[in-house]
């Protein structure tokens, strides 16, 4: 009985709401943007940095009156599904978003395997997506057409760049510690030959499993070898362990590198000043004044979420949204026109200009950042750097 009553009441309310909408003269129909998100499962902890960036972008666009669709302003709405950290689910979700939900635009999911998994779906339905949080040489094997990769952190470029940065910073000997997961291994395969080429001797070389709980054994041998550089090709979970235990053992190398992890907000919360002067992978800093949108993005993100944006996982999604936004403003929602626009134009983002050739961003250089006094500073290459490399003198 009460169920029936509430239903009538709900439909009455709905009718009233409809009337109200009709009354306010043709309010613009929302633009619906669909994507899958690893809300649960293995990658769930990476998802919020990306989701936050998308939400910040949406709120900013809506606050400015809506998304400019070739001259007409329309509010933005998200259609989001949980892919449970499973690429196969992402494939089904993108099919559903395209064929059943009939969304107007698509955003990218999180991570390389997900980008690779949905690429054929996008190809089949001829639906363009600007990718973001994917980095692998495998991306180059993706057929160019409906997906683009925003990052410049591709391992075959990163290896040589890191070796050059190390050499320029006075490194003659190095320890290379590598997580067994694919991205770290890929970087290592390009880093080792590059170090040799630069004349840097590798004195300790160790692989370790992703679920490692104690690094005392590895780091003791690093300490004994006393190299100039410790290049730890970490993932987020072990990046904390590495830094904590390097500090405990008092590793004295002036050049300390940790691949993924240091740009996560929690990293500095856990390590405090010990995180200072650690070098890591990213190609963005809020302090690069040549990119006028960088600092406002940083400030808006901090104001909304009360923590710093991840220099990779928040920045890249925001960039991809900016690129899509600018393309839609020019050519509207027609997918073929959008595709041609994204493939050919140059876009202004918080990370400076971006232009694609094939699937790759060819403007942003491969870069490295360092945490200096709690701030992310670009230290490589010279063309975009915001600060000089500082040797790590204490933990």
């Amino acid at each position: 009985m009460s169920g029936l009553f509430s239903m009538t009441r709900r439909s009455l309310l709905a009718a009233a709401a409809l009337l109200a909408v009709a009354g306010t003269a043709q309010a613009a129909e929302p633009v619906r943007i669909g994507f899958s998100m690893a809300k649960t499962g293995l990658f769930a902890q990476a998802a919020p940095s990306q989701m936050n960036a998308y939400e910040l972008w949406r709120d900013q666009v809506n606050a400015a009156g809506g998304l400019d669709v070739a001259g007409e302003k329309r509010p933005v709405e998200f259609v989001v599904y949980d892919d449970q950290s499973n690429p196969a689910n992402a494939v089904r979700i993108y099919e559903k978003l395209i064929t059943q939900d009939k969304v107007d635009l698509l955003f990218a999911p999180w991570g390389t395997p997900f980008h690779l998994a949905i690429a054929p779906v996008l190809e089949r339905y001829k639906f363009p997506v600007v990718g973001n949080t994917a980095a692998s040489v495998q991306l180059r094997n993706v057929k160019p057409g409906y997906i683009w990769f925003t990052t410049s952190a591709i391992p075959d470029q990163m290896g040589p760049a890191l070796a050059k940065l190390a050499k320029q910073s006075g490194v003659k000997t190095a320890a290379v510690l590598t997580n067994a997961l694919p991205f770290s291994q890929e970087v290592k395969s390009f880093l080792l030959p590059a170090l040799e080429k630069e004349g840097i001797e590798v004195v300790v070389r160790e692989d370790y499993p992703p679920d490692i709980k104690d690094m005392t054994a590895i780091l003791s041998s690093v300490k004994q070898a006393a190299p100039d550089a410790v290049l730890a090709l970490t993932y987020p979970a072990d990046s904390f362990l590495f830094a904590n235990q390097a500090k405990e053992l008092g590793i004295a190398a002036p050049f300390v590198f940790s691949l993924i992890g240091p740009t996560i907000a929690a990293y500095q919360q856990v390590l405090g000043a010990s995180a200072n002067n650690i070098v890591t992978e990213a190609h963005w800093s809020p302090h690069q004044s040549d990119w006028p949108k960088a600092k406002p993005f940083y400030d808006a993100y901090v104001a909304k979420f009360n923590e710093a944006p991840d220099a990779l996982d928040s920045v890249l999604p925001y960039m991809s949204a900016e690129i899509l936004q600018q393309a839609v403003a020019k050519v509207g929602l027609d997918r073929e026109k959008l595709r041609n626009e994204i493939a050919s134009d140059t876009f202004e983002t918080i990370n400076g200009p971006v232009k694609f050739d094939g699937v790759q961003n060819v403007v942003t250089p491969t870069a490295y950042v360092q945490i200096q006094d709690g701030e992310i500073q670009l230290i490589w290459p010279d063309s975009i750097k915001t600060a000089d490399f500082r040797p790590k003198t204490s933990w």
Partner: protein, 296 residues
Amino acid sequence: MDQLLSGQLLFAALVTGSFYAIVALGLNLIYGTLRLLNVAHGDLVMIGAYTAFWLLSLVGLPPVFALPVAAGLCGAFGWLVYRGLLRKLLSNPQLAQRVEANSLILFYGLSVILQNAAALAFTASARGYRYLDEVHHLGAVAMTGNRLLLLGVAVGLCLAFWLFLRFHLFGWGLRAIIERREAARVVGVNVDRVQAITVCAGFAIAGLAGVLVSMTEQITPFMGFPFTITAFVVIILGGLGNVTAGIAAGLILGFVETYGMALTSASFRSVLIYGLFVGALLLRPQGLFGKAVRGA
């Protein structure tokens, strides 16, 4: 060789081993007394970790004081779970026959609920805080304050439990139930009460372990599962339901892992842990310290 004999490695092995021991302790109590497969055990560790994080961030309570709070919270939750879910399962003789399989499903559901409730309430962002992260030197051995605290609490807890089971009347009752359930009831052990307290204690110890681990690791809603796996490996190694053997097995696992990695390579971690596990199962299926069941 120097490295193998160093106190640094010994410290690392003790920290890892004693942590494994307390993670497994709670699981072992619950399995031993109630034959319940608590696959949500790691998620209670997660609850403990978040308790420490929020108490520090919201009211500034130092994590060492979060230890009793997390234990109390998880213990209270254990009591609710026992009264609400488990008691029925155990008191109905038909259900009690299949209690292990049923509890697996029940706790799996609980695990999914806990993880996703935490993700919903706290978001899945990794959290962390700094606490006791200064480095102390004892001779040539460097020790971070929080790892030293972990070692102290874990060893204290293991010792306390061992003494309790050995010398306290309640401990005797507990051991009686573990060894001969029906006989314990006959001689007047209040099985229901012992069971309720055991579940509370098991949950509380997991919460404690969570506070300790949150001092050195990042905190996420999905951090618990690896702890569940570790705990199962330890208690199967030691012999299911054998609480003191479980403590010893945790320490052994920590030593094998740490020294094994130093002798071979870190990439052999899984080979070492599961090698020991499989080897023990093949040679001593009743556990390293278990007694073979006669005439079963």
